[in-house]
Structures are given as structure tokens and as C-alpha cells.
Symmetry: C2
Subunit: 445 residues, 2 copies
């Protein structure tokens, strides 16, 4: 127990938006159950937000609200800071300052961690406090704890995640209601599942931030999210989802990470996964995360990946971990920030997108003339891409018809070259082909 903690652990809350309000409410409303588990109080001693109107949302005695977040970080009576401002500007400045002052920091700021992980790690090491971020990946699901603690005796082999509720909600509505992407996006915005500017979600970068963090933890390596192969869901149509069904697949925006070719392979893209895979049963705004490791085999986590209370629940679990560490050792670092000891961190290469090997679904739109199929498959074959099945619908109609092909495993670079050659040399192909990657090796039950 730290001298400061004799009346409980004082938490400074930076950012009183949705999640910040949720954290304050859980600490207040579930105070009794938390104390019965922790053995002492854990409370918001100060809360800061630029918007003074937010004071009324936070269950807090008068005089503990401020618009000056730095005054909270500078307060020597506050040993633990929760950063829920978001972004990489002032949030990062506050986090660095708190860590260097020896405070423990809890955050849900995935973008900041994915972009500045090594710098933050160094500050946490220097200050000696904890830096915890369970809420940054998968909301209430214990992705971070499972990687850092449950699987501590395992070598992680691969990970597959549905980590963005907005995208999963949109894809579910396209799948089950035959909507267009635009219609489903509008629905997601109306239901509060998508932002006015949805690009961080639907273009895959939010998922990429989370995947970069998970890969860092799994393999004790620094992963720069900007080096990942990332495709969003804007081009997914109900037509492709119907074709996928005929082959026994669902389409999900999947985060994929594997050890492959001596490197870490990390990619985010719309992916066809077998219908009997548990992940293909994850619908609506729900998230799921599958980890395959050498001893535990397959573990799947499923839960709400976003939202006020699920995210706040994860923040509170981190706060209790910090409080428990303070009650014991009197310092942080009980569990290393990125799972392995800072000195043992290494820089594994991230597999270049060109070198990724996978199976593909390709849909061409082509004028229905004799020989089209043979020309398409001929060009693919010249680039070493062989076809496992073909589905051609709507023959003998006017205008272009869809020609769907599933390939055997092929290299991304070869596929891109073949598609370029097809679009340059075949006039009968009328539109940019739709490419969806397939993931079905060792499908989970």
C-alpha cells in the first residue's frame, strides 16, 4: 500500500465524454462491489474536460471538475490518470507527462498506442508506473489480458479478429437485408454505430491500430500500423455476399496476423471465411477475437467492442489492476507493457503486402462473349494463379455479366500484375474487378 493510498486510490479522469462518463459512473454506482473485491476505495479525485458543460454528466462532488487537464496531471495527490481524450495531440502530451512523473496511466487510445508505443513504453519504464490499455482493443473483451497473462506460456501462431463494430454492423445489414454499402452506412449512422465521418472505421484503419497493438503483444515486437496492408469495406456489395454464400463463406472485415516467412504478417481486409467458422456467426456490432497458440490451441473471445459501458468496464478493470499493483509492490511493471520485458523487445519485419500468399475471390464484370472465360483464366495462369472454381451467372443478357472465380493460393504481387494486365488488354472487362481474400486454412470449428 502506497502512503498516498491510505484513503483509497485517487484517480484523475482526463476527458469526460462518453467513456469518461461511463468510468465515473461505474466507479460510483458499483462502488460497493468494487471495494468488496479490491479491499479499499478507488475513486475519481479530479475530472477534466475542455467543455465545462460536461461537469453535470459526471457523478462527482463539487470542486473536483476542471477545464485544465494539466492541473490534474500535475497534482501530486493523484497517482493514477485515465486518459480518455483521444487523438494524438494533447492526449499524448498528458500521458507522457504523467508517466514521466511516475504516475500510472490507463487509456483506451488505440491510435496513440499504435503510433507511439515505443516512446510511451520508454516513459513508463523511466517513471516506473503502469501503462494499461485493455479498452484499446476489443472493448470489454479481455484481448490484452489474454495475450499478456493467459497465454504467457504459449507461442502465438496466428490471430483473427472482428475488431470494428461499425464495419461488422454494416456488413451484417448488407448480408441480411441486401442493402447497398451506402444504405447500410446510413443505417449505422442513424443507429449511432457510425460517426458522421466514418472513414477511420470503414477504411479499416481503426482495426489496423488494434491489430498492430495485438501483434506487438503476441510477438514482443514493435509493429508500425502504417506498414500494414489495409483495405476497407466500401466496395462490398450484396451481390458478392450472395456469391460468397454459394461457396459456403461469409464476408467479414477481418484483422489477420500470423508468423509467416520469417516475418509478422498483418493485414486488414474484407475476407471470406467459412460459414462453419465461429467468427462468421458474429453479427451486428459485436466483436470477436481468435488466438491460435502452440499449447492452448484455439481461444475465441466474443463481446461488445465499443460503447460507453463495455469500454468503461475495461478501463475500470485496468484501474483495479493498477490499484492492486500499488497495494503490493509499490510500483508498476508487474506485467510488462508489451507483454515481454522491454529489454527483450525485438523488431521483427512486417511481411510486405506484395509477399502475402492467400486465396482470392475475384468478380469480373465482363461483356458476355465466347472466349472471355478462357482469356481471363489464361492471363491469371500466366501469372501462376490457378482457379479452383468458377461461377458465371446471368448469361445471354444484355450488358456486362458477373464472372466469379475462386483461386488457389497465390501471391498478392502476382494477382495485382494479372489484374493490371487484364484491365489493360481485355476490353470486354468493363469494370474494376472486386477482390476479396479468403481465409480458410485450419478453419476453427
Amino acid at each position: 500500500m502506497q502512503p498516498n493510498d491510505k484513503d483509497g486510490v485517487a484517480v484523475g479522469l482526463l476527458g469526460c465524454g462518453t467513456v469518461g462518463t461511463g468510468v465515473a459512473r461505474i466507479l460510483a454506482e458499483n462502488r460497493e462491489v468494487i471495494e468488496s473485491r479490491l479491499g479499499g476505495p478507488l475513486y475519481v479525485a479530479a475530472a477534466a474536460d475542455l467543455d465545462p458543460g460536461r461537469e453535470k454528466d459526471i457523478p462527482l462532488p463539487r470542486g473536483r471538475f476542471t477545464t485544465d487537464a494539466f492541473s490534474v496531471v500535475n497534482d501530486p495527490a493523484i497517482p493514477v490518470v485515465v486518459e480518455l481524450i483521444g487523438g494524438q495531440g494533447v492526449a499524448r502530451e498528458l500521458v507522457m507527462k504523467a508517466l514521466l512523473a511516475g504516475k500510472s496511466v490507463v487509456t483506451a487510445n488505440k491510435h496513440m498506442i499504435a503510433a507511439h508505443g515505443p516512446e510511451i513504453l520508454a516513459a513508463a519504464e523511466k517513471g516506473g508506473g503502469d501503462f494499461l490499455f485493455e479498452a484499446a482493443v476489443g472493448g470489454c473483451m479481455p484481448v490484452i489480458k489474454t495475450l499478456r497473462e493467459t497465454l504467457v506460456g504459449n507461442r502465438v501462431e496466428s490471430m483473427y479478429g472482428i475488431l470494428n463494430g461499425t464495419c461488422n454492423y454494416i456488413l451484417s445489414r448488407i448480408t441480411f437485408e441486401n442493402l447497398s454499402f451506402e444504405e447500410a452506412l446510413a443505417g449505422a449512422q442513424a443507429a449511432g454505430y457510425a460517426e458522421a465521418d466514418p472513414s477511420l472505421d470503414v477504411d479499416g484503419w481503426d482495426t489496423a491500430h488494434k491489430l498492430a497493438i495485438a501483434a506487438s503483444l503476441a510477438w514482443g515486437t514493435r509493429v508500425d500500423y502504417k506498414s500494414l496492408f489495409v483495405k476497407g469495406i466500401r466496395r462490398i456489395t450484396a451481390m458478392d455476399i450472395r456469391f460468397a454464400e454459394t461457396f459456403g463463406y461469409r464476408v467479414k472485415l477481418l484483422a489477420i496476423a500470423k508468423k509467416a516467412q520469417g516475418a509478422v504478417e498483418c493485414r486488414v481486409h474484407p475476407t471470406m471465411i467459412p460459414m462453419n467458422n465461429l467468427l462468421s456467426q458474429v453479427n451486428g456490432a459485436m466483436n470477436a477475437f481468435l488466438i491460435r497458440s502452440d499449447r492452448a490451441g484455439e481461444i475465441v473471445l466474443y463481446g461488445q467492442g465499443a460503447g460507453m459501458m463495455p469500454t468503461a468496464s475495461a478501463v475500470v478493470s485496468d484501474l483495479v489492476d493498477v490499484a492492486r499493483n500499488r497495494a503490493g509492490a509499490g510500483s508498476g511493471g508487474r506485467v510488462p507493457v508489451f507483454s515481454c520485458q522491454p529489454g527483450a523487445m525485438r523488431d521483427l519485419p512486417v511481411l510486405q503486402a506484395d509477399r502475402v500468399v492467400t486465396r482470392y475471390y475475384v468478380r469480373f464484370a465482363a461483356v458476355d462473349r465466347p472466349g472471355v472465360l478462357s482469356k481471363l483464366s489464361g492471363i491469371l495462369g500466366e501469372h501462376g494463379i490457378s482457379i479452383s472454381s468458377v461461377h458465371q451467372k446471368g448469361r445471354h443478357t444484355e450488358g456486362p455479366v458477373p464472372i466469379v472465380m475462386l483461386t488457389h493460393e497465390a501471391r498478392e504481387a502476382d494477382m495485382q500484375k494479372a489484374l493490371t494486365e487484364i484491365s489493360e488488354s481485355l476490353d470486354v472487362v468493363t469494370d474494376k474487378p472486386v477482390l476479396i481474400r479468403i481465409e480458410d486454412d485450419n478453419p476453427p470449428e
Copy 2:
């Protein structure tokens, strides 16, 4: 860091059967990755088994094996003991001795914890060491950690588990191959999924041990597994599973725990759950555990609930937790054994089986005469049980025909009284009815 630990944390391994061998192998074979995470060695300093022939299975320098488990527990150079002997005899004696001597203990012995939890808790408190048992519930799935740490800010509302791989394997084979229970059991035994004496598994008691532990953690209460309502799967037939399908359900041996009627409701029985519930997609020997709580909503865990390496993986994660606690505080108790502080433990009543309220599937075998249906529903109605649907097959055949009814919610006591009256007063009912309880309120997506 404890003085004893300067060359690493010395572990005493009691029991060198399947799981014990797995633990020793993980510590040896994944030594490098574990050290990179823990920051120091964690090694088997002594291993004990009554069978000296097992020495060769354990990767251990000569001279560290003994047939005398007490010599390991008495060794002052061994601060951490892993109990993998099983049962409640010598295993319990060794665990109590080790805890009272101030050592930390890790075990997978669910039966011992379910039967002697309070006594063990008292010994751990007195000695000051850790007592950890992640492997006791759900194998490699982090059931214990999720309840004690991830959901520390939540009030648990209900839990649903498929916690016995043997039963799930047998039910899957009955479901997908139309086998009888006996055929599926023989298959499970041939595949190594069932013991020669399968009663602990197929009669539901192994699941009951696990559920009692999970309920203790969720609500900080002592739960005696012997007071639970437990039914096994011996009477499940492919016919009932086919009928369940026509109503949109799968049949699983489900562990159910809820706060209800001011008590803890805990039961284990074959249960019909909606086909679109994630748990109904869990097949073969796999396990899954669903926790519903007030802030995190629904979390599902999925993984291998048994087997050498999945179970050993969970034991190793506990060992690393112990090592981390020793590196910090110098004592155990960082996370309370049963989730809440010992002083805050309470004795909630366990809901009497008679007072359980649920929906039922009932299959009668009855001679096909006019008026049978009206007599059956009449007696049910007199006991306050109303019917939501009826399915009658094979009319106009010789001999008894199956009559299937689904009921609305009813009290267990009323249902039992109605069935007794039916069997005593209706000669046309030729056999004991098959009763399967239905769980479909708030079905998970």
C-alpha cells in the same frame, strides 16, 4: 523479488500424469519465451509421483524426481507447489500443508475446490501465499481471470457454460450422426474423450463442480456443489434432438447460474438453446462460457476445456502470476481467491430445485388413441402449466407414438407433480416422459 527467487522461481510439481507432464514440458520447451515475459527463470525444482516409472516422462535433471510428495512440500527451497494429483485425499492434505507453510499453490483440482473451498481459502489467508486454479474451470479458457479481473467493475447477472468436453462430444455425435447415447459414449471412449467410468462426466457432476466455483467467484458466496440441481445426458436420444431442431433448438449439457428470487440459481442439465445462440455452435469436445454482466454486457469465451496442453497452459499462466506476485509484494493475495475479499464473502442461498422456473420440452410415449392429447394437456393445465406448441408424429401406427410438447414458463415442482399424476392416471402413456429444459430468454446473438 523474494530472497529465494534470485536464481528464478522454484516450482514443486506434485503428480506427473498427463497434465503434470504438460506443465513440465511447457516450462522446459517454452522457457525462452516465458523468461522474456517474466524477466527471470521459472523451473521445476522437484517433481513427485507415486509411480517411479513416470520420471522418464518429465524433462528434468536427474535427482529431482521423488515418490514422496511430502518431501517436496516440506522443502524450504520450494516456495511454489503445483498440485496435479487430483481427488480429495492426499491432494487436499498436501495443498493444506503447503498453504499453511506460506507457500503458493496452483491446482486444476475442481472437485477439491468445489468441496473444500472455504477451508482452503482460510489456509491461504493464514499462510499468505497465493491459491490459483485457472485450469479447474474451462481448461485454457480464462474463465477465472475474466470473472476475477476483467469483470471486477461489474455485477454478474447470469452465466451459461458448456464445460464438459466429453458430454459435448457425445451430444455432437448424437446430433450429427444420429447415434444412440451408448454408441456415442463408446466412440468418445475410443477417441480418448471419455473415461472407462464416465459417470462423473455424463451425469453432470464434473460440470457442477466447475459451475459451483464460477458462481462463488461471480457473487462472492460459498456454493456447495452438492446442493445444485444436476441432470446428466444418459437419456438424450437422436429423436429428441431431431424434434428440438424442428423448434429451432440444439441440445447441450448447459451449466446455468443466475441471480433469481433473492438466491443463486445454479443448475446443470441437458438444455435446449436457440440455434442462433453462439453456444449452440460449439461442437465436439470444445467448451464455451458466456457471462452476462451489468456493464460489459455479454462476453463469451471459447476454447479447449481439457487435454494435456490446454490444461497445462492454464497452470503455467497461474505459475507466472504467482511469480509476478512474489517479484512484487513478496506475498500472495493480490487478487482475492474467490474474487471478493475474504471478509466480504457471504452465504447467499442456493435456489431450491423445486422453485426453478423455466420452459420445458416434454416427450411422451403414448398409445395413439383419441383424446390422449386433451388428457395430457388437461393434467398439465391443472398444475398451471400451459403449452406453447405440440408436435405429434407417426399417427395411425401400431404401438406408442411420440407426443412432443413445449411449455411456457413453469415451476419445476409443478411439472414434477403433473408428470407423476400423468404416469399414475393415464395408462396410455407407456414410458417415462423425456424432459429437456429450454433456455431462451435474452438469447445471445
